[in-house]
Amino acid sequence: MTTPQMSVPGAAALRQTGRLFALAGTVLAMTFRRPFQLRELIQQFWFIASVAILPTMLVSIPFGAVISLQVGSLAKQLGAQSLTGGASVLAVVQQASPLIVALLISGAAGSAICADLGSRTIREEMDAMEVMGVSPIQRLVVPRVLACTAVAVLLNGLVSVVGVAGGYFFNVELQDGTPGAYLASFSALAQLPDLYVSELKALIFGFIAGVVASYRGLNPRPGPKGVGDAVNQSVVVTFLLLFFVNLVMTAIYLEVVPAKGA
């Protein structure tokens, strides 16, 4: 049985993509395999939350402010100040928040996960585990991916609140909006599915960040430099995937869920 190594251009990229999806599938399947690694999950969850919370907050306040200022001034030009609140809230909750969360999880936690798994791989720890009949995916990757996903979902809630509060503050204090108009437009334009899709996005983005980081960590080129490169690539690849998946999900959402009042 020989595996022919095709040299078709693009075949390598396809092979990598296939293996990435295979890992994602294995992670999903192994999630329900006993024994569940609860301890590792809690440790990883704690670690990811602790490295991601502060930077996420620090990014989300100015980001919420920028969106609210920009939308505010645009709305003024169009003569629709009364709708500023709802518009900026939608932008923050649906687009900005899941992306910010996922980018920071990938940058702060995904890179650490990738480096950790990568250095274990080149020290043959993964091989040692497999030899002892323990699956490194079940043991190490599943808890990390689940932790990324869970932290993303929870942080997304936090960022949404912080972003909306920041928007409110800037709109009301700096752009002479009125609290009543802000809240009224909010309830006129926003609906619960907006929040649902936001959380769904965060869930999927967190999963992607975790899987990509783990995939690169499990397959570094040999040597410390290989691990460094893998970390770098894992962050870049995650970013590319996130924006692409975001585009697809947004398009689908806007088609499927009718806008409120439309």
Binding site: M1, D127, E130, V131, M132
Partner: protein, 374 residues
């Protein structure tokens, strides 16, 4: 009781580089085998292929009905629990201390209580000379200690097949001698099938029942210890003597010009008188350990093989057995003398319990030294 590992037609390449091809050998159940080969000939790759970590393109590795190369992962995973692999670099988990590292397989695969685990782990750490180092993490210990910890972890489940990748590298000569004895004692105790990769000629010539050698992408030798040591194949002879003269060079093979020049130089030199190569005695289990069932089976297997062997090989086997028997007799005499001294020194204290050293299997009649009557 160990299990047989049957390798057939194994071929592995990375990209265009063929590591080895068409390797066929059988590790007989419970016997100790040493795998030799110049650095970079793929010994580590071979070990990893046996256990299914590396998938060769061709061939099979059969372990009790499971094909470690082609069978589905689920079966391979289950079969792996019967192996213990000691990695060349230890491969300890960097985040766990030595105790937890060695306890890892027990905690994963057994329902033993923490007390039992503690007893087993401490005992294994003691046998590899790491008592008192439980709390250190792998980053805080020397290379030789890491290897010994790796050995302890490989032994902790009492595996049926033990694969050791250069257990001696990074160890001092005394520890290497202890290690050889340890490997033989482990084999006597649990009758595991063992494959040891090593560059150490001392281990290669005194520990195993069988020796194999990889060279230039082929298995160039595989057979009973004595026949390989006595082999006149230039590659094997050069390797066992550690001599720079011969077909093995610094890189994979010397080029033709260099070989010709060397042949010319050798032709001008007075040749040493050819004399039979000495076959050292095989190491035997320590006093108090059981007999090695693998050794007994090996002897029976070789006896059956004897008629088909060339005269020189049969002669080498005979000399090896004589040497082993003599060494065992000397050891037994020394032990008896020591016991008597101890007994006379501590009269009228009760006679201390002595364990007779296990005796090697008897020679078949046609190979008894002349003059000895049964």
């Amino acid at each position: 009781m160990g299990i047989e590992v049957a390798v057939e037609g194994l071929t592995k390449s990375f990209g265009t580089q063929t590591i080895w091809r068409d390797v066929t050998l059988t590790l007989p159940a419970g016997e100790v085998t040493v795998l030799l080969g110049p650095s970079g000939t793929g010994k580590t790759v071979f070990l990893k292929s046996l256990i299914g970590l590396i998938k060769p393109e061709d061939g099979t590795v059969r372990v009790d009905g499971v094909d470690m190369v082609n069978d589905p992962d689920r079966r391979v995973f289950r079969a792996r629990k019967r192996f213990g692999l000691m990695f060349q670099d230890g491969a300890m988990f960097g985040s766990l201390n030595l105790y937890d590292n060695i306890a890892f397989p027990l905690r994963e695969h057994t329902r033993k209580t923490e007390r039992e685990i503690r007893r087993i782990v401490l005992e294994k750490m003691d046998t590899v000379g790491l008592a008192g180092e439980e709390k250190k993490v792998p980053g805080q210990i020397s290379g030789g200690m890491r290897k010994r910890a790796g050995l302890a972890r490989a032994l902790v489940m009492d595996p049926e097949i033990i694969l050791c990748d250069e257990p001696d590298s990074g160890l001092d000569p005394v520890r290497t001698a202890h290690l050889s004895q340890l490997l033989i004692d482990v084999n006597a105790r649990i009758d595991a099938t063992m494959l040891i990769v090593t560059h150490n000629i001392e281990i290669a010539s005194t520990v195993p029942d069988n020796i194999g050698m990889l060279y230039r992408r082929d298995l160039v030798a595989f057979g009973p210890r004595e026949t390989v040591i006595a082999s006149e194949d230039p590659v094997i002879a050069q390797f066992l003597r550690g001599s720079p003269e011969g077909p093995i060079g610094m890189s994979e093979e010397k080029d033709a010009a260099l070989l010709a020049e060397e042949a010319a130089r050798a032709a001008n030199r007075p040749r040493p008188v050819a004399r039979p190569i000495e076959i050292p005695a095989q190491l035997r289990p320590s006093p108090g350990e059981p007999e090695r069932s693998g050794e007994i089976r090996h002897a029976a297997r070789v006896d059956a093989l004897l008629p088909s062997l060339p005269h020189a090989a049969a002669e080498a086997i005979r000399r090896g057995r004589v040497a082993t028997a003599e060494a065992a007799a000397v050891a037994a005499a020394a032990q008896q003398a020591a016991a008597q001294r101890a007994a006379s020194a501590s009269q009228p204290a009760p006679q201390p319990e002595t364990h007779p050293a296990p005796q090697p299997p008897p020679l078949p009649p046609e190979f008894r030294p002349p003059g000895e009557t049964p």
